[in-house]
Amino acid sequence: MSSTVKSKSMEIMSYQWFGDAEAYKRKKKGKNVLQLLPAEKHPLHSQLHTINVNVKQKLKPDPLDGLDPLSLNELDPLTRMAVGCDYNPEFAVKSDNFEPWNSKKVAILNKFTTQEKLSITTSYFAADHEVRGVSEKVLHRLEQLDLDCGSKQYFGGLTQEEYINKINQLDQQLSQAWNADLRVNALKISIQCCKLLGDSSVVSFYPSKFVIITDILDKFGEMVYHRLKGKQNDMHSAEVAKETCKNWFFKVGSIRELLPRICLELAILKSYAFIQPQPEYGRILSRLLNSMWGIGDPVVAIYMRCYLCRKAMELVPNNRELYMQSFQDLLLLHDQAFDNFRHNPQFVEAKVAMETYMSILSPAVDWILQCLVHRGEHLIYVIQLVSNLPPFWKSLLISSVLSTFPPTFIGEECLHILEMILTLENNLGAILRNLGLCLILIDPAHQQAKEIWNLVWPSVRSVQDRNQYLSCCQVWVEFAVKHFGSDTISSVLEDVMEHVRYRDADQLHGQLASIIEKLLTYSNDITQLLHMDKFIKMVTMLNVDTVKNVISTFNAKHPEPAGNNIVVNTLLHLATIVHDSVDALTPVDEVKQIGNLINGYILRVNFGRDFEKQLQFYDEARGAFSNIDAILVQLVQCVCSLGMKVRRLVDGHHTKRTRAFLSACVAYSFITIPSLENSFTQLQLYLLSSQVAYSNQCVSQGESCLKAIVTVLHESSVADFDCGETILLEYMSNLLSTFLAVPDHPKESMLYLLKALINIEWIFPSVYVQALSLVGAYSQEKYAYHFSGVDANDGLYGGEEKFVNELDATGTSVLNEILNIVKTYGEQNQIKKQAKLSLDLFNEILIWGDVDQMWNLAVNLWNFSRKNVDHKLAVRTLETIRRKAFYRKEFQYLASKITMD
């Protein structure tokens, strides 16, 4: 077997290529010309459309046939948002505009933090102790001995994190004690937790502390409830649960300290249902509410009322009297709170500002008010009560009123409320901010908006504290953008800039960025913003993310091309900032993202028919964005399309000027491309530019591009191209097809580009097969296509014999190259590949070769391949040949020679 293969391959070496000059003509004869139909719809587009429709149909709210709630959870978050449901059952029940505690919780935890040192006193921290020094070890042992006697430990100087850790530790111990059936211990631990609530010494942390501890209490309450429920359900009778429950209430009722007693009674109040089937929660709650008068510290007192309202919302959400009573208590607490603020040594020492004090109270007050008014009742009554309060309390309550009342109501009463606000001095920042938050939701009429603005803006400007001022601006800027033109906005920005200096930019970054974001989001015409100095100044003060944001908003909101000089230059400036932020350490993805962003901007710049200016812009852009390859690629492509645009404009007949312009375009590409890192991209762009050049009769520029391609291919190995075989082969066929329409250079030898190309050692034999096709195409009398205005080789040589010989010689060398590879495959025992290549070559001969002269080779190749290629393919090939044999006599002989066996 191997000897026959060898003998065959020896023969192979002597084969020659004979082109078939008639291939095209015959093809044309035998071919049906397909009719061209313009594509009206993009196939992908239409599909997308139908999907949307499906989704919409699915999501239509139908009261009877809603989505299956179980499967809803598996939908992606976006779809869920579209459905507009929240699966929190608590939320579902309360519907309307009641903001659940859980959503508030996070906000409170984030807002109220402290740098101060905290302290904790408790007897329950023995579980895991980090024992450090010897002295502490001794201390630790002593403590362990003491613990049974209920000794108290004092932990001072804790940071916030440490403090929270301690509380979490208590929480864990509570669970452990509970699970270990040590109920009394569990109760004791929860009493300890409650005691922590009584300490408001680090007041700025108090709201967070409240949130954490009430969570623990809630958990405790749940544990008690579930245990009693379990008692009720399993074989014990209801009486057992009742007795146990009574016991709990007796135990809690006899706690000595006031605060833990109230807290725990609230925590386990839900379980009262085990004592009485229809418990009078209202009565109990109102008693507890009254006993809260015993709490001396007003901060604690207000927060306890908040906790009570929270529990009441779970148990008796409709008991209006209770909420009204809590609210009225709140009003009465004024004296106590005011005294506390003025005389408490702790506030005096720490110089806690009145605004801070109010902001600490406001979450609790908000919640109490929300419980009262969330059904839209008592609104006017509350407003009247509030308007008669002393200024200190009025400031606090108005801010809560604004944040809890329905915005529509605020909108109606707006001027009345404003009048009240303007008499106040304290807490203006928070009040105005909340007012703004309401007003941006309801969109007042233009006239009213103007009136409001004229009243509000001066007092916003007068807010002293810079943070408060900025958080006000954050909101009111949105109002201004929605209702007024660029004049107002620019005056707002100017005022903001007056408050902020460059060196503060880092510190106030978040707020300024949010102002910018509001402007970007709500502005109808982003170009107006770009015209404002102050806006640009502010953006440049902030970090790159904001700048990116500006560009991306521009891209998103400004789909039409931009030709305004100021806008273009401003954006160029901003884009340069973004570009310059990229350095060696920037992650690849971010570079990619920045590239996309700037590309979006570049694509939008359009000076209409001022092509020179456009090119100049691209030139500038290249200078500015030289570090990001993606942008350079985009620029080259832009320039190429610019060239083609010009060509379309002159309809292919260039004047001297336009031709020069095109030379400039191609030159631009030619200069830009070498700086790219990826060599395959270089190749693609070179090819693109050469095609542009040839289409515009810039022959020499085009040729230099092609030369550059060959050089690049010579210099780099295949491993340099990260694109993979298929894409590279596609590229090669594109390149070779371009070669067909390109004339030879008069000073070089015939077909020098092609020859140079096949001199490269290709590891993909398909390239040679393609080259063979090109040789075949070259040998036709008239080529299939031309660049308009450029004579190809058919015109230059006109089928001259010398040219034909040259072609056959080139063909022969390519052929031998292929046969060599076939041989190597045989030696390497890669039968499949060998057969495939042989069949390819066989087909090539059938299409382009002179079968009369090459039948011998063809038959050999056939015999060689048919056994090892797919049987069906072989059969089909055979059928084709037989069919051809009907009308071409040279095939008849071949057909008689080749068989399936």
């Binding site: 009584g198 007795e243 007693r261 008693r287 009254n290 001396g296 604690v300 009465l332």
Partner: protein, 310 residues
């Protein structure tokens, strides 16, 4: 040989009132056949009195223990002498809770010097040769039934609270005052108790308003104090002890606003006020204010006492 003896009452709370029937099971768990000389169930109720060492001296206190007063004593033979089969044996029983002679039934009470206790005692008698006699005692509570609890049958005798005159139910106003020159500075508070006569099942309630205080207040507490009096040969021995303290005001509370007074009676340690020939149990309530003076740097306590009729 492991034998478990247990007495179980059907009522989980173990609280009974007069004339009710106490029902339950005696459970005996044994792996082998059990020979016994009879199983007997005793119900007893007695008042234990003890003299305080404070009033009569240690020596006397030790010696002159007062004889317990028997309130109840019943005995039933559950099973005659014989054998019990191996495994679980449950013997149901029922007792009427009825007074003996013309004594009355007091509520269960655990105090320092006076205890009123009711118990069920089950005894499995066994002769010395087979093994020791086994006993098991459980306590049950006696309370006067409240009219609210409709599930319980109404007792024939009227409740103490029903007997009270309307005049005694009225609220009691009070005032506390201290002059400017005194140690605690100027201080004035007033308030009322809803009643000095409180039914024991209901919480004790009232209101307190602090009008003015020269120094900040640290805490407001109410204290429940019992006064027990035992009769003995040498006259009466009277002792007061604290039952529980409850804080109603924490920190410098609001002036001029009513702070509710609210206390649940700890059931085991309280009983209706009892005045008998041999012993008395009475209650007092004390308000206590802890004042923190800036100048004094110490606590001063102002207190006010009321006697209560439960």
């Amino acid at each position: 040989m492991v034998i478990l003896l247990d007495v179980r009452l059907y009522r989980h709370s173990k609280v009974y009132s007069e004339n009710e029937a106490i029902r339950g099971l005696v459970v005996i768990q044994s792996k082998q056949e059990l020979k016994h000389d009879g199983i007997v169930l005793n119900m007893e109720g007695q008042v234990n009195l003890q003299l305080s060492s404070k009033t009569v001296g240690i020596f006397e206190a030790f010696y002159q223990s007062v004889k317990p007063i028997q309130l109840l004593s019943y005995q039933i033979d559950l099973v005659k002498a014989g054998r019990l089969p191996a495994g679980n044996t449950e013997i149901p029983f029922e007792f009427p809770l009825r007074v003996r002679n013309n004594r009355c039934l007091y509520e269960t009470y655990h105090g320092v010097y006076i205890n009123i206790q009711y118990s069920l005692k089950c005894e499995v008698k066994r002769s010395f040769l087979i093994g020791t006699t086994m006993t098991k005692t459980i306590e049950f509570m006696v309370e006067y039934s409240s009219p609210k609890d409709a599930s319980l049958p109404k007792p024939s005798s009227p409740l103490p609270s029903d007997l009270l005159q309307p005049a005694e139910m009225k609220r009691i106003e009070f005032e506390m005052l201290s002059d400017a020159g005194s140690k605690i500075g100027f201080f004035r508070a007033h308030g009322h108790l809803d009643s000095a006569t409180c039914p024991i099942v209901k919480p004790f309630s009232g209101e307190l308003i602090i009008d003015k205080s020269e120094f900040p207040i640290k805490s407001v507490d109410i204290q429940l104090i019992r006064v027990e009096t035992c009769g003995c040969a040498e006259g009466y021995a009277k002792d007061a002890s604290e039952i529980q303290t409850i804080q109603i005001g924490d920190g410098d509370v609001c002036k001029g606003l009513p702070i509710p007074i609210f206390m649940i009676f700890p059931r085991l340690f309280c009983c209706p006020t009892l005045l008998t020939t041999n012993f008395k149990i009475e209650f007092e309530r004390i308000f206590q204010f802890e004042l923190l003076g800036f100048r004094l740097h110490g606590y001063c306590i102002i207190a006010r006492t009321f006697s209560l009729n439960c």
